[in-house]
Amino acid sequence: MLVMNGRYEDAGHEESGHPERPDRITAAIAGVEDLHLGDDLRAVAPHAATRAELARVHEGTYLDELGAFCYAGGGDLDEDTYATYDSWTIAQYAAGGGLAVIEELRRLNDGVGFIATRPPGHHALRDRAMGFCLLNNIAVAAASLTEQGERVLIVDWDVHHGNGTQAIFWDKPDVMYVSTHQSPLFPGSGAAYEIGGMAALGRTINIPLPPGATGDVIRRAIDEVATPAIAEFEPTWVLVSAGFDSHRDDPMADLALTGGDFAALARTVAGFAPGPGRLAIFLEGGYDLAALRTSVASTIAAVLAGAYDDEPPSSGGPGTEMVHYAQAERLVALRIAQEAASKGDYSA
């Protein structure tokens, strides 16, 4: 059973020539339709996140300013990020989609969630928009779960580091954030030595990868660096920042993944969920429409154990040494921080 957010009108959030455009959602939904799920697909009613739901992860003053900025006609928030008159409403629906899907998964105690909303969210900080993102959709969902006592694993396979999500949960021990991303690349954060704050040491796991890295490398990164820590964390929920801009055809970056790689990744990540109804996949980036469509189909087919003719998985790209280096760098950073903690020195 696939539980999806109901579609809301997002055409008003568009800037001429900008790659983050409404066609992306059409392509993602087409990817789901390609699977012909029939009764196995359930759409929940669209939900606009309330102020209280957003305020778990965003500053109230930022929410006020963003609303005012949009109603004043919008414009460029920075060199990458735009907002229009309609963006405030659309962003609230984008953030609310995850909440509605999770509520339905909890009710069913079964199924997998897929949240195809835009604008994307993982770059949005508590108090600032950036990298095409206005509100941090996955963070809003994760915060609603931790408030109910859940332990949430977020796996982020977007080609960019999810700096916003990392920052929001930096010092929160009930959220584990795992990111694979190309480096160097925007936003410049996501080094392996970024391991979480003193109250959440080791709860942030960053695995930077070089341009050209293939599926075998990224699977190795998850298996060797993240899986042991995830097992120890024992998540009760798993959320995915599924950015498909790590596909080899995406114009935004240079990783070399294929649909088959996303299928393999999705199967691995689904295995981290403790049972049915505990996995929700959030669309982040993905700017080549054909690649986005097939990658979504591969990902969803994989988690539903359905059939889809994936592109073959990729292998042989660079990055194995970088994964080993990241593991070493992470362990050193952990040891230094733990020693500092044992001495009561919280400045480290």
Partner: protein
């Protein structure tokens, strides 16, 4: 007060940024400081044409000549990220700037709102003294 030895200045190639760079270069010439010209490459930055980097270097060289600042005192630093985040980081290694200078562009498409204005966002978050150079 700590002596100003390293001045960081944001540079996106715009006329306002050039005014800020001139101001920083003139100050550096007076007090024998070094200047790090900082350029942020955003998410869309990879679509900039290939000559962009060369043009950037050329503009910086031209501006230092104009201001009579020895080129050995000037360094160009290009970093991935949004301008605000990249400029906030100039206080840290490897730049360790004592002062941050920016132009006033984007000083408010919507007056009274912080959003959309890099200089106002920086004023809120900077950990080193900030100079906002008005465009003329």
């Amino acid at each position: 007060m700590k002596t100003l030895t390293t001045i960081a200045v944001g540079f996106d190639g715009s006329a306002d940024a050039k005014a800020a760079v001139r101001w920083a270069f003139n100050l550096a010439a007076q007090i024998d400081a070094h200047v790090v010209v900082v350029h942020a490459v955003g998410m869309l930055g990879r679509f900039e044409d290939r000559d962009a980097a060369k043009q950037l270097e050329e503009s910086v060289r031209q501006l230092s000549d104009d201001c009579g600042l020895d080129s050995s005192r000037v360094r160009l630093h290009v970093a991935n990220g949004d301008a605000c985040s990249v400029l906030i980081r100039v206080a840290d290694d490897p730049i360790s700037a004592d002062l941050l200078v920016v132009g006033s562009r984007g000083q408010g498409k919507h007056p009274g709102l912080l959003l959309g204005s890099t200089s106002l966002e920086l004023a809120e978050h900077t950990t080193v003294p900030l100079v906002i150079v008005p465009s003329l």
